[in-house]
Structures are given as structure tokens and as C-alpha cells.
């Protein structure tokens, strides 16, 4: 190792010292820079740190506000809900009332005469019935104007609607409706009797039932017992009163035209009375029962007879 020689020339030691000083200077400036950088970094770090704090604080505030709001809304809902259920109940009650009213209006059909308001008047519905059986319905759509007129209807063509309207429609509408009801109910009743005779007692009829559209003229031949030989009766029923369900004229004859024994003559006369006083199918029902009575020979069936003839 070279010892520093004090007797060396200055150049070498100066170069050494100056260079040493330079090195020290750069060292200092470097460390100064570093410390400056460090400081700025620290400052930045500090700033960011405070920013983070601020943001966290803000976040917490917002969260708190949110919870608060939700809490409010829930409270509101809790307040509102009892009101809503009340509304729903009212609505249900109204609907129920509406259904009731509708049902009542529909049930009016059973009174036989009902109606519904239309945009230009009223649509009247006539529901016919006979002996507790509900039969066909007919409609008349009236236009309320001066003069009152029928717009359209479903009344059959052979019912004298125009005649009845000409008589009563303008002056007394109630009378018009009741008169029409009478005609239609009577027609329905006659039709019902004829239909029942054809369907239920075909065994007692020996030929087709002759009828006309209004069912006011019926002509048929029948016998009293379905199987065996008995006299054939010819019946001709005229219903001259179109508002009635019972005939006005009845003619019963025995086929063959020979003179009848008194018992058959009595029967014939009794049949005439029966047809005049009782509905057609009931008369035939009594014929059928009488047959059973003859066959069985028991008196018990009498109770059925009397029981039914008294009930109308």
C-alpha cells in the first residue's frame, strides 16, 4: 500500500483531495435528492392517506343514510299496508254486491216476465212455464219512441203478435205484455202436452199424433191397453181459446161406428170429460195407471189415482 508521502508533489494529493471532495459533493447532492424524493413521497403518502380517510368517512355516511332510508320506507310500507288491505276489502265487497245483483236480475226470469234496458229501449223476456216446468223463452225488443214500436222479436209467426200490438201497444203497454204472456204461456203449455203425449204414451197411440203449429187442433187414435185387443178411440181436441191450455171442444168416437155397449159408451163419455178438464198427458197417465190396476187387481193403486187427481 502506498503511504501518503508528504514530500510528494501537490498534484497527486490535490487530485486525490479534489476528487474526494467531488465525490463527497455528489454524495451529498444525491442524498439530498433522495431525501427530497423521500419527503415528497411521504407527503404524497400522507395526502393519499387522508384521502382514503375522507372516502371511508363518506362511505360510512352514505351507508348510514341508506339504512336510514330503508328503515323509513319499511316504516312507510308498514303504515300504508293496513290502508291497502282496507281498499281490497271494499273492492271485494262491491264485487260481491254486484254478483248478487246480477244473480237477482237473472233470477227474475223465474217470474216469467223480465226485461233489460237497451240503448234504445227495453228488451223484454217472456219465460213460459207449465205445471212448474220452465219452458221456452221469447224476446220482444221495444224501441221507446213516439210511437212505441217493436224493433225485433223471437215470437213464433203463428202467434198473433201484430194483432195484440195493434190493440194495446200504444195505449196500455202493461196490457200488451200480459196479453202476450198469456198467449205464449198457453201455446207453450199446449205444445208441452202434445210433446209429452207423443213421447211418453206412444204405446197407447195407434197412429201419429196430428197437430198444427199453434197446437190448437189435435187429432189422434188411441186404445186403453197397449198390448191386447180393445176398442180404438178417435179423439179430436179443439182449442178455440188461444189463451187456454185446455180444449174448448172435445169429440171422442169409437172406431167401427157400431152401436156400443153401455159400458163402452160410458167410457167414451168419461174420456170426453177427462180431456176437457185435465191436461192431455195426465189423462193418458191415468189410463196407464188404470191398466196397471186392472192387471194387478190390487186396491193400493187407487191411492195413486186419487192422490194424483187431487194434486194439480
Amino acid at each position: 500500500m502506498e503511504q501518503a508521502n508528504p514530500l510528494r508533489p501537490d498534484g497527486e494529493s490535490k487530485g486525490g483531495v479534489l476528487a474526494h471532495l467531488e465525490r463527497l459533493e455528489t454524495q451529498v447532492s444525491r442524498s439530498r435528492k433522495q431525501s427530497e424524493e423521500l419527503q415528497s413521497l411521504q407527503a404524497q403518502e400522507g395526502a393519499l392517506g387522508t384521502k382514503i380517510h375522507k372516502l371511508r368517512h363518506l362511505r360510512d355516511e352514505l351507508r348510514a343514510a341508506l339504512w336510514h332510508r330503508r328503515g323509513n320506507v319499511k316504516a312507510c310500507i308498514a303504515n300504508v299496508e293496513p290502508n291497502r288491505t282496507v281498499e281490497v276489502n271494499e273492492e271485494e265487497a262491491l264485487e260481491e254486491k254486484l254478483e248478487n245483483v246480477k244473480a237477482v236480475l237473472q233470477a227474475y226470469h223465474f217470474t216469467g216476465l223480465s226485461g233489460k234496458l237497451t240503448s234504445r229501449g227495453v228488451c223484454v223476456c217472456i219465460n213460459t212455464a207449465f205445471e212448474g216446468n220452465l219452458l221456452d223463452s221469447y224476446f220482444v225488443d221495444l224501441v221507446i219512441q213516439k210511437p212505441l214500436r217493436i224493433h225485433h222479436h223471437s215470437v213464433p209467426v203463428f202467434i198473433p203478435l201484430e194483432e195484440i200490438a195493434a190493440k194495446y201497444l200504444q195505449t196500455n203497454i202493461q196490457h200488451f205484455l200480459f196479453s202476450l204472456c198469456e198467449y205464449l204461456n198457453a201455446y207453450s203449455g199446449r205444445k208441452y202436452q202434445a210433446d209429452r203425449l207423443q213421447s211418453d204414451f206412444a204405446a197407447l197411440l195407434t197412429g201419429p199424433l196430428q197437430r198444427n203449429p199453434l197446437c190448437n187442433l189435435l187429432s189422434f187414435t188411441y186404445k186403453l191397453d197397449p198390448g191386447g185387443q180393445s176398442f180404438l178411440f178417435c179423439a179430436r181436441l179443439l182449442y178455440k181459446d188461444l189463451t187456454a191450455t185446455l180444449p174448448t171442444d172435445v169429440t171422442v168416437t169409437c172406431q167401427g161406428g157400431e152401436a156400443l155397449s153401455t159400458s163402452w159408451e160410458e167410457q167414451r163419455a168419461s174420456h170426453e170429460t177427462l180431456f176437457c178438464t185435465k191436461p192431455l198427458h195426465q189423462v193418458f197417465a191415468s189410463f196407464a195407471r188404470r191398466e196397471k190396476l186392472d192387471e194387478s187387481g190390487l186396491l193400493i193403486d187407487c191411492f195413486h189415482c186419487t192422490g194424483n187427481t187431487s194434486a194439480k
Binding site: 228488451c123 223471437s154 209467426v157 203463428f158 196430428q210 190448437n216 187429432s219 178455440k240
Partner: protein
Amino acid sequence: MDETVAEFIKRTILKIPMNELTTILKAWDFLSENQLQTVNFRQRKESVVQHLIHLCEEKRASLNDAALLDIIYTQFHQHQKVWDVFQMSKGPGEDVDLFDMKQFKNSFKKILQRALKNVTVSFRETEENAIWIRIAWGTQYTKPNQYKPTYVVYYPQTPYAFKSSSTLRRNTPLLGQALTIASKHHQIVKMDLRSRYLDSLKAIVFKQYNQTFETHNSTTPLQERSLGLDINMDSRIIHENKVEKERVQRITQETFGDYSQPQLEFAQYKLETKFKSDLNGSILAEREEPLRCLIKFSSPHLLEALKSLAPAALFSRIQKLLCYSASHSQGTQDPSSYIPLYPRC
């Protein structure tokens, strides 16, 4: 079986299209099920016809049976004929109509047979309370011509009868008389209604063209018809005459309704009117007597055509014309009574 009868049945069956043959034969109910089953309907038509004639011969078909087959064929092909409408009337204070079908048939036949010795009359009742009458006309010296019959459809206990228009017009008065007397009426008048469509004539004459009624049972509310003014149209477009359009729409709706219209082919109105003129001294205006005119509307489906005029905005003009003719026609029956669909003015 008579040769003429055989020929008649053969020609009738030949007219029937193959797809309707079994239905019509069943409705005829002359050949039994067993007999019909022996026929092979898949053959050529001539062979089928031959077989059927053979079966009819076996069963000894009469002229009446043949006439019945002809009636059934016509019932299935109603629109091949043109139908006129006749209205009968009774005297005032007449008794209740106690219609007896047997009596009517006998009476009708007797009247025709008394007047013309040679005439074939056949009847067939339908379920809708109508009676179809077929008349084949002959004269004192010639046999009835079975190929040009007249058909009458009468609805008992109503004043209406429908008659197929035929070329043999000279028999119409006799036919009218027979119908009137047999049905116990006094008078018969021909109405100014004519159509191929019997159902439409029935609908008009019996006023049964609209069979929908409002009741409390119906759940579908009456729909509001769109005015034809589309919702898709630009809202900036305003219809100046919207009120008028709505009025026309409403009147059309009330007059024609929502149902399908009876099929009328033409409507004719007699009109007596005076000529109006602004010029004084016009020859036509000075006429004392009113001018008599005949207005005729014709179309394949007249009422639908009129109904569709409403959107075309011609409706008000037609309406005015009809009202005018209704109020001014004198000496003829009120046309609004034939077509009771139009609003009274």
C-alpha cells in the same frame, strides 16, 4: 212400374250430385236400408242409377213416390228456383185458425182436380211447420207435365206462402184460389218480394232476421265498433266530419245490426212525385198529375251492399232517397213494410 214413372225417377236421380245421393235417398225413405246397402256407390253414375231404378221397380214405385223424390231434391236445391211471396188475408172478425192438415190437403187437391182433370199434387211436411206442395200441371186432354212442376211452400196459421216462379203463368190464379180456400182465407195478394233464397225471404217476411237479444245472462258486452278511423293513423290528422261519420255508423248499426243480412237480389220502389223546377213555366213542373217512376236496386247481395255504403259516405243520400220514396209513394204499398230494416223518417 210405369215407364214414364221410371223415366221420371231416372232423370231425377241423374240430377242429384254423387255426394248428395245417399243423403237424399235416406230422406226419401222409399228404398230400405238393406236395399241401399246392395248398391255400390263407387261405380260410374250410370251404373248406380240403373241399379237404383231396378230396386225401385222391385218395390213398385208409384208416381207419388217419384214426386216425393222430386220435392226432396228441390228442398236440397232451393236456390235453383226463384221464389215469389204471397200474402193471404182473412175477413174481419174471423174465428181462430184451427188448421187441420188433412182437411187442407184434401181441400187443396179437390179444388185443383175439379178445375183441371189432369194434375198431380204431392205434399211433404217439414219440421219447421212448413208444408211443401208440388203441382204438376196438365190440361183437360193432356197428362201432367212432370218436368215443369210448381212448388208452393206454405206456413200454416200464418198468411204467407212462397211459390216458385214457373213459365206456366196461366195456372197462377187457380193456384192462388186453391190455396186461399183450402187455408180458409179470403184474399191472396202477391208481394213485391222475389229471391232465390227462401231463407232470406222467410227472414224478411217473418221479421226474424235478427235473433240476438240482450239479456242479463249474456256476459259479453256489446262491442263498440271501430269507426273505421284507424287508431294507427297519425294523430295530427283530424277528421272534419267526424260527428257525421259517427252518426252514419250508429244508424247503420241500428238499422242493419251485427248479423248477416238476408240475401236480397233486388228491391223495387214505385214512386209518384212531382217535378220541381226553378225555371218558371217548365212543362214538367206544371203537370197536374204526379210523375210515376220505378226505382230498382239490384245486386247479388243487396242489403250487404247497402250496409257497406256507410263507410263510403253515400249512405245519407240513399237514406234520403228511400225516405223520400217512402213518404211520397201513393197508391202502392209502403215499401218500408217490405223491407222493415230502414229507419222510418
